[in-house]
Subunit: 202 residues, 2 copies
Amino acid sequence: MKILVLGGCGTLGSAIVSQLKEKNRSYEIITAGRKTGDVHVDMTSKESIEAMFAKIGNVDHIVNAAGSAEMKPIEDLTQDDLKFSINSKLLGQVNMVLIGSKYLNEKGSISLIAGVIKDELIKMGTMYALTNGAVAAFARAAAFDIKKNIRINCISPSVLDESMVEYAEYFKGVKSVPAAKAAKAFIDVIESDVNGQEIKVY
Amino acid sequence: MKILVLGGCGTLGSAIVSQLKEKNRSYEIITAGRKTGDVHVDMTSKESIEAMFAKIGNVDHIVNAAGSAEMKPIEDLTQDDLKFSINSKLLGQVNMVLIGSKYLNEKGSISLIAGVIKDELIKMGTMYALTNGAVAAFARAAAFDIKKNIRINCISPSVLDESMVEYAEYFKGVKSVPAAKAAKAFIDVIESDVNGQEIKVY
């Protein structure tokens, strides 16, 4: 079974990769990222995604642990901040469904990532709320609409314990979770029949 | 009291305007739209929004009844469809908070519009689910983050009775509501202290 892990070299992505390897040594894992991983890809570019799949061929599962949004007081957000957040945390993931699904084997799955910010609100978190709300709703709707026999879900982890060193001041009052716990949710989705769900790891 | 109604010449916008006029004759109502209304505005353009407010001055309430998204099977969605949907139904509304809030008097309010598609799923509805999910989450987060003493909410109406002539085949199984009922939700928000809420009119 061939599994593509986007953002596979990040904190969460690495945890997903190591759990997949532990779980089943026959899994063939390919990591991808803008600048790291086995293959490089710009998820906001149709051409770049197609070039990646031309290189690696069809896969059975696509897991996304990549993407970020700007954290700023709403008063300071510029048009560029908006564009960056939507491109990085939203459009790349939508593209992975629109384009990636064509390179997914039947009965495969795509797992997107949203996050806790939208159910929990934090100061400077408007771009995360916007993109998380969009991704969670899109994943459900895409699973409902797509004709191919594949599953589409979204995992929404809380902020990671491992990220709290850097982000604690932003996430005051939000209970963090270990990357290993968030990673397990991705593995559970691959190994189950779950479809059209938002899996919350808070 | 000065109230700006974006999309004020559409089906929902007209209903909002006529209820506001009935309610209180002292309300000063300004309608805006891309090509219709008292003033013209392209909500995706910072410059166009600023030019509009330079013309009309500060307002007490901003109501948005404008914006649409592409309805297509997910397999047929192009990069242009994505861009159109996000610009029209999402970014324009975000701009109305980011930029419009500067031209809003203290204690004023901004009411955005999302919709039923995300809680209810329909075929070809992925772009509506995505943008509605984004707008609803953004409105809550924006109300939480913004420092100015204003209120920000989002109204999510079901498909309108008046639109079912054209859209019935898309909204199979979804219960429609009269434009007058959806419009009342906007007026209720203006005349109340509601803040950071998604008001569902299903």
